[in-house]
C-alpha cells in the first residue's frame, strides 16, 4: 500500500478566540485521527527518526501499536525511553529531529510523530495507564539538582534501575522551565506537566522543593552529611541577558524570564493569584527565539498590542516555525531587521518607547548566518509601554561558586563530557547548565546519558 503524502491535519483553537484566552492552542489527535496518521508510517528497516531523537524513543514500534489500536502497548514502548511524552509531544522541535529525517518527508509530509506521541501520552493519562516498572531498590542514594527536563529524565532512568533518587528543586513547584517558562496555552500545567511529574514520583523519586543547592545545602554536604553517592546537576539556564543599551532599567522593562515566571509559575495570567503582572497597552518583545514567542503571545493574551523586534530576517528566527506561525495568526506584529538602540522613558522613569535602527544583512558570521549590520541614519521610534528582553541567559554562578573543584568554561557553564562527567568525581551535569539555553529534549537526552554514566560509575 502506498503511503499517503499528506498528514492528518490537527485541530486547533481558532486564532481569534485563542488570542484572548490561555487554553491550549492545539487539541491533538483523537483515536481515529491517530490511527489514520499512524498508518502512514512505512516502518523503515533502518529508522532514521530514532537516531535523531535525543532520547532514542522506539518510534516505529510505538507507531505500529497505535496503528493497531494497542495504545497501552504504545505507552509502554515510549515509557522505556521517556518519562515526559505528553510534554515532548507538545514542545519538541520535531521538524529538526525525528520528523526532519522521516523518509515520507522527501516527497510529502513526514509522519506527525510528535502529535502521535502526544496522543499516546494523553490517552494513557486519561485512561489511568501507569508505566512504573522498576528494578528492586539497591539502597544507593543519588541526588539530582533541579527538577527540570534534565533532572526528571535522569531521575526516572536511575529510579528504574533501583537507585534511591532525591531531586532538590529551588522553586516551590517541580518542573523547571516546564513550570516557569512555557505558557499554559502551549503546555497545560496541571493536566500535563504535573501529571507527568507525578509519574516520575510514582517511580519512587522524591522531590524536595525550596532547596537552594549551593546555599541551603552544598554539593559537598550532600555527599558528606546526607550520604549521597553521586550527584547530577541539571540546574538549568541562569541569569537573563540584557542588551546593555540606555534605559534598560526603566520601569516597564522586564526579562522574558521575569514576565513568564510571573505569568506561569506565579499564575498571574489567571488574575486569581497575588502576583502582579504589568503589560500596559503596548508591548515590544526583543528577540526571535521560542521564549520571545512565548512572552509575546502571553502579552497578547493579557490584552496588549504586541510587537516582536528582531535584528535579522524571518528566515533566521531561531523559534520553531510552528510557534512563529501561531504568533502571526494570533495577530502579533513582526518587525524584522530592527535592532533596539535605546529604551525611551518619561520623567517618572516609565517606558514610553523603543528607539530602533534599521538593519540589513551583511556577510555570514561564525554561526553561518548573515550578520545584521545597521543602516546609518535609519533610527526610528516604536511607541510602547513595556519592553521584554528575550535574549537568552548566562549561567547562574551559584553552584560553581560553592563547589570546590567544579570546573566551568569561560562563559561560566559547567564543563562536562558527552556522558555528563564533570571535573569532580561523582558529580555529573547536563542540560542548559552545561550547554547554555537549549531545548527540553536535549536536556532530557543529557539527563539520560548522565543516568547511564552514573550507573556505570556506581557499579564500579
Amino acid at each position: 500500500m502506498k503511503a499517503k503524502m499528506t498528514r492528518v491535519p490537527v485541530r486547533e483553537q481558532d486564532p481569534k478566540v485563542r488570542a484572548t484566552n490561555f487554553d491550549e492552542v492545539c487539541y491533538g489527535y483523537n483515536a481515529e485521527e491517530a490511527q489514520a496518521e499512524a498508518s502512514r508510517c512505512i516502518n523503515c528497516k533502518n529508522p532514521k527518526c530514532v537516531t535523531q531523537c535525543p532520547v532514542s524513543i522506539k518510534i516505529p514500534q510505538f507507531i505500529e501499536q497505535v496503528k493497531l489500536g494497542n495504545y497501552v502497548e504504545a505507552a509502554h514502548i515510549i515509557a522505556e525511553d521517556s518519562s515526559l511524552p505528553a510534554v515532548c509531544g507538545r514542545v519538541c522541535p520535531q521538524e529538526s529531529q525525528c520528523e526532519g529525517v522521516c523518509i515520507l518527508g522527501i516527497k510529502g509530509e513526514p509522519v506527525a510523530i510528535g502529535k502521535l506521541e502526544r496522543f499516546v501520552a494523553d490517552w494513557s493519562r486519561k485512561n489511568g495507564i501507569k508505566c512504573t516498572e522498576k528494578a528492586p531498590s539497591n539502597g544507593i542514594k543519588v541526588a539530582i539538582v533541579g527538577s527540570g527536563p534534565a533532572g526528571l529524565a535522569c531521575a526516572s532512568d536511575l529510579a528504574k534501575l533501583g537507585y534511591e533518587v532525591t531531586i532538590f528543586e529551588v522553586l516551590h513547584k517541580a518542573g523547571g522551565v516546564l513550570q516557569y517558562g512555557i505558557p499554559e496555552f502551549r503546555l497545560p500545567k496541571e493536566e500535563v506537566v504535573e501529571a507527568e511529574i507525578d509519574n516520575v514520583r510514582a517511580l519512587g523519586v522524591k522531590i524536595e522543593t525550596n532547596v537552594v543547592v549551593g546555599r541551603t545545602i552544598t554539593i559537598d554536604e550532600l555527599f558528606d552529611k546526607e550520604n549521597f553517592k553521586a550527584v547530577f546537576i541539571g540546574s538549568g539556564a541562569g541569569l537573563p541577558k540584557f542588551m546593555g543599551i540606555p534605559g534598560e532599567n526603566l520601569n516597564g522593562v522586564f526579562s522574558a524570564n521575569e514576565f513568564l515566571t510571573r505569568s506561569n509559575l506565579m499564575g498571574a495570567y489567571s488574575g486569581e493569584t497575588d502576583t502582579p503582572i504589568y503589560t500596559g497597552t503596548k508591548v515590544a518583545v526583543v528577540g526571535g527565539g521560542n521564549v520571545a514567542m512565548d512572552a509575546a503571545r502571553t502579552a497578547l493574551r493579557l490584552g496588549a498590542d504586541t510587537t516582536i523586534v528582531y535584528r535579522r530576517t524571518e528566515k533566521e528566527l531561531p523559534a520553531r516555525v510552528e510557534e512563529v506561525h501561531h504568533a502571526k495568526e494570533e495577530g502579533i506584529d513582526f518587525r524584522m531587521l530592527t535592532n533596539p538602540v535605546e529604551i525611551l522613558g518619561n520623567e517618572k522613569g516609565w517606558v514610553t518607547g523603543l528607539k530602533c535602527i534599521q538593519m540589513e544583512l551583511g556577510e555570514p558570521d561564525e554561526s553561518g548566518r548573515r550578520r545584521p549590520v545597521p543602516i546609518a541614519g535609519s533610527e526610528f521610534d516604536i511607541e510602547t509601554d513595556v519592553v521584554i528582553m528575550a535574549l537568552g541567559t548566562s549561567p547562574n554562578p551559584l553552584i560553581a561558586n560553592t563547589t570546590a573543584g567544579l570546573d566551568t568554561d569561560r562563559y561560566g557553564c559547567i564543563v562536562a563530557d558527552d556522558l555528563g562527567s564533570t571535573s569532580r568525581t561523582g558529580v555529573f551535569a547536563g542540560g542548559d547548565a552545561v550547554t547554555g539555553a537549549a531545548t527540553v529534549i536535549l536536556a532530557m537526552g543529557a539527563g539520560r546519558k548522565a543516568a547511564a554514566a552514573i550507573d556505570e560509575y556506581l557499579k564500579k
Binding site: 529551588v170 522553586l171 516551590h172 516557569y180 522543593t209 525550596n210 532547596v211 537552594v212 546555599r215 541551603t216 545545602i217 541562569g238 541569569l239 537573563p240 540584557f242 534598560e248 532599567n249 520601569n251 516597564g252 522586564f254 526579562s255 524570564n257 521575569e258 515566571t261 510571573r262 509559575l265 506565579m266 499564575g267 486569581e272 493569584t273 497575588d274 502576583t275 502582579p276 504589568y278 517618572k348 522613569g349 547562574n396 554562578p397 551559584l398
Partner: protein
C-alpha cells in the same frame, strides 16, 4: 513543613515569627535573606533572616504590615504553616569569611532604619560574639516601628535610638545622630546601613563626609530570588547587578539609589489595590 512555632507582635504592626526550617537554620549566615509564600496563590516575598537557631532548627523572620501580602503573613498563627519557605539566599556579609584575629580592635557602626533592625541584629550579634566593637543607631518614624531595643542593647557597645516624631528616643533622623557622634570624635573602620531605600540614600550621603567604608543591603523587588528573573537589578558602580545573587549587600557609595527607589515602586498601584481587596476579605 515550615510550621510557625512562635508568633509575637513586637509592635501593633510588626510581627515576629520563629519558623521550622531545619536545613535553612543550619546554613543561614548574617546578611542573607529568605523567600516566603503564605498561601497557595501567594506571592514570593523576600524577607531578611533575622535570627536562626541551629539546634531548634528554626529561623526567625520579622514582618511589618505594609500591604496585602505582609498582612496575610501576619494573620498566620502559631501552629499554622507557611506554604513555602526557601533560603538562605544571597551572599553572606563579607566579615563571615574573616579570621578570628581580624575582628579584634575593629570598630563597626550599624545604622538601622525601621524594619532594617531585623537584618542588622544577626550581624551585630555575630560581630559582638567575635569581639569587635559595635555601635548601633536605630531610627524609625515612630515608636510603633521600633523593634529589638533590648536584644540589640545586649549585643552592642553603644545604642542610639531616634524617632521622627520623638515618640521614643531622640527626636530626629539617624543622620543627625551620625553627625553628632562623629563630631564627638567617634571613629569606625566600617559602617553598615539597612532600612528603607530613602534612609540608606541619606545615610550614604552623610557617611561619605567621614570617609568610612559603608555597606548597604538592598531590599529590591524579586520574584524567584535565585538569579532567574532579573527583577532585582540595580545599578552599582555604573553596572547592572542582580541583588539576589550578587547581593543583597553592596558598596553604598556605588549604588544608584534614585533608580533603586523608582524600581521599587513599580507595582505600587497593584499593591494598593490588592491591599484594599485584602482588607475587605479579612473583615468578612
Amino acid at each position: 513543613m515550615y510550621k510557625i512555632v512562635k508568633k509575637e507582635f513586637l509592635t501593633p504592626i510588626i510581627c515576629l515569627m520563629d519558623v521550622e526550617a531545619p536545613r535553612m537554620a543550619a546554613a543561614a549566615q548574617p546578611g542573607q535573606f529568605l523567600i516566603v509564600r503564605a498561601r497557595e496563590q501567594g506571592e514570593r516575598i523576600p524577607l531578611t533572616i533575622c535570627d536562626y537557631d541551629k539546634d531548634k532548627g528554626t529561623v526567625t523572620i520579622v514582618t511589618q504590615i505594609v500591604g496585602a501580602s505582609s498582612r496575610l503573613i501576619c494573620h498566620l498563627e502559631e501552629g499554622d504553616s507557611f506554604t513555602d519557605l526557601v533560603g538562605p539566599l544571597g551572599i553572606p556579609s563579607e566579615f563571615v569569611n574573616w579570621k578570628e584575629e581580624e575582628f579584634v580592635g575593629k570598630r563597626f557602626l550599624f545604622v538601622a532604619g525601621g524594619l532594617g533592625t531585623a537584618p542588622v541584629y544577626p550581624q551585630v550579634k555575630y560581630l559582638h560574639s567575635k569581639g569587635a566593637h559595635v555601635d548601633v543607631i536605630m531610627g524609625a518614624r515612630n515608636r510603633d516601628l521600633l523593634i529589638f531595643e533590648k536584644e540589640m542593647g545586649a549585643v552592642c557597645d553603644n545604642l542610639y535610638i531616634c524617632t521622627d516624631d520623638g515618640s521614643k528616643g531622640e527626636k530626629g533622623l539617624v543622620t543627625n545622630i551620625i553627625d553628632r557622634i562623629m563630631a564627638e570624635g567617634k571613629t569606625y573602620d566600617h559602617a553598615v546601613a539597612i532600612g528603607p531605600m530613602i534612609m540608606m540614600k541619606f545615610t550614604t550621603l552623610t557617611m561619605k563626609k567621614y570617609n568610612v567604608p559603608l555597606t548597604v543591603s538592598l531590599n529590591t523587588i524579586m520574584v524567584d530570588g535565585t538569579g532567574m528573573c532579573g527583577a532585582c537589578r540595580v545599578t552599582v558602580g555604573g553596572k547592572t547587578r542582580f541583588a539576589c545573587v550578587e547581593g543583597p549587600e553592596f558598596d553604598a557609595y556605588q549604588v544608584d539609589f534614585d533608580e533603586a527607589m523608582r524600581r521599587q515602586s513599580m507595582y505600587r498601584e497593584f499593591e494598593i489595590e490588592a491591599d484594599h481587596k485584602c482588607k475587605i476579605g479579612l473583615h468578612e
